[in-house]
Amino acid sequence: MLEGIMIGLSAAFSIQNLLMVIAGCLIGTFIGMLPGLGPMSIIAIMIPVAITLGDPTAALILLAGVYYGAIFGGSTSSILLNAPGVAGTVATSFDGYPMALKGEAGKALTIAAVASFAGGTIGAILLMIFAPMLSTVALLFHSAEYFALMVVGLSAIAAFAGTGQVAKALMMTILGLILATVGEGALFNMPRFTLGLMDLQSGISFITLAMAMFALPEAMFLVLNPARGATGKSSEISNLRFTKDEAKIMAPVIGRQSVQGFFIGVLPGAGATIASFLGYAVERNIAKGEAQAEFGKGSVRGLAAPESANNAACTGSFVPLLTLGIPGSGTTAILLGALIALNVTPGPRLMTDTPEIFWAVIISMFIGNLVLLILNLPLIPYIAKILAVPRNFLIPFILFFTLMGAYIGQNNATELLILVGLGVVATILRFADYPLAPLLIGFILGTMLEDNFARSMQLYRGLDFILERPMTMGLLVLAAVLVLLPSYRARRARRRAEGVADGD
């Protein structure tokens, strides 16, 4: 391994590759900041550039830098505009945006930068240690377990949506799953629920839905109630520092979530998105009393947890790509395509055949995280200037970027009409206090969930896989417990309260 690290160091520290890391991080941050352009679209756009480089090491380093930059930039727009361009930073907006509303946008951005840096660095260290080992763990998972794992993920997200809201969150999850069935499924090649419309043949685009669920309602609320955005705008983004006490609160959160996020990222299908949501949920459950009540209202823990988890998971998602040649997420799937175009086949033999690629990428992750921290911390006051733009100009621009994000992805004007329609629906749902994140997660996981469900049904000729695979069974039971536990707890608490009243 030491030899490999040496090879990686010498490759990563060449002038060309250092420039690639810096360029990738910068491009990623700036484009990722625009709501709607997530890492997937940016990497897809950068592929022609990377391929013309001709050198697979440099290309992969560039694309990985873009990936980190985009996740980092995405959290910036989540915090400042509540418009996450990336599913992985949706959880960041839960506490980041309230913080910005309180006038602490500078602090929120710093915390996000530090947490991302720590998450990415710890993730890269873990990648170095576990990349060879973890491939065996991931190999144990069959489609039945993937199916069960995704069910657990969805129920966990619904269960942690809030007290007394589990049914509503489940409803939104199912709506997301239903929306995901529109269009041609991967396994059947049969158009479903397209209502005969050609434009729905390829399904609803994730970016359109994300825009409609988060950016549009927020912009509409800003229009409806001008008082809403007034508080955050007035303050100067001067106070970038967080206090020593806050650092003390953050440190264990970052440590836990970096490790947890990394391992979730390793599992294919469960990438940065699940890692950040689960990280948020776990920290909220661990927190006690006042600290727990603060979640959703600008909690330091609630911001640090998803930020470190999603960056660690990004690193983790490279494990199956580099060791098995299986992409764990949409983004790594695009990376896989780029590598194949460069005549490199990722897989178990990558480490032995072309160690310079494998190790240079890992070393460049450290450099990339450092670049993000050094470049972005000083840039934060300038980035945060977005909040000082007058509302009358800002809102048309948010709406415009939302429309552009949906349009660029599909190059289809009908997509814009779908966006507006879904945006109106989302605004009404927000009015009625329905959580929208489960809808989006359900939508993202819907296709994979159905594919794995169908594959295990085919392999076991029916539902037998639930009984025959103990791991699947266990995971499904866990999912059921997660959903039913909150209402059981609430019922027990109510009974106890009634009992006391009777006794008196």
Partner: protein, 164 residues
């Protein structure tokens, strides 16, 4: 009945329609060799329709009691105060977005974007034309350059009759 339960009712109806489509309209299209499969394209939607109806009914009938009903704060958005809000502006902006979607292809990116940005600010009450128009023009031009020339995604800049 509160708004969230109305939505649940709509959702249950939606699931019923979805379930009807899944149960009664999809399977006869299936080629015979696929009918021997244990899983059909309609299997997962059927499960979803049933699950959706159950969960929707739970919300509709209010089976899950919220633990503590906290009073919504003043800064929070609340549909009961909808009439106090700038509803007209919001509806105008939505209309503007629809117009933009319809005009983007025929009128070209530069014109429709400039008009959209200026009209958007206008609807929100901005009257400083000497700021609005240049800002919109510069933004439309630079974004077009970024998308088309740097990123290489085609965006028709001018109206369709100008031939680009």
């Amino acid at each position: 009945m509160a708004l969230d339960r109305w939505i649940a009712l709509v959702f249950v109806v939606f699931c019923c329609i979805y379930g009807y489509l899944a149960f009664f309209t999809m399977d006869h299209l299936l080629p015979p060799f696929m009918q021997r499969n244990p899983v059909w394209p309609s299997t997962f939607p059927k499960l979803l329709a049933i699950g959706g109806c159950i969960v929707g009914l739970v919300v509709l009938l209010g089976l899950e009691k919220p633990e503590n009903e906290s009073e919504p704060s003043a800064s929070d958005i609340n549909y009961r105060r909808l009439h106090e809000y700038n509803l007209g502006q919001a509806l105008l902006l939505i209309g503007l977005m629809v117009c933009y979607a319809l005009a983007l292809r025929p009128a070209g990116f530069l014109i429709s974007t400039t008009v959209f940005l200026v009209a958007g600010s206008f609807v929100l009450g901005e009257r400083k034309w000497h700021v609005m128009v240049p800002v919109a023009l510069i933004a439309a031009g630079s974004i077009w350059y970024l998308v088309q020339e740097v990123l290489g995604i085609f965006l028709r800049p001018f109206p369709y009759f100008m031939g680009v």
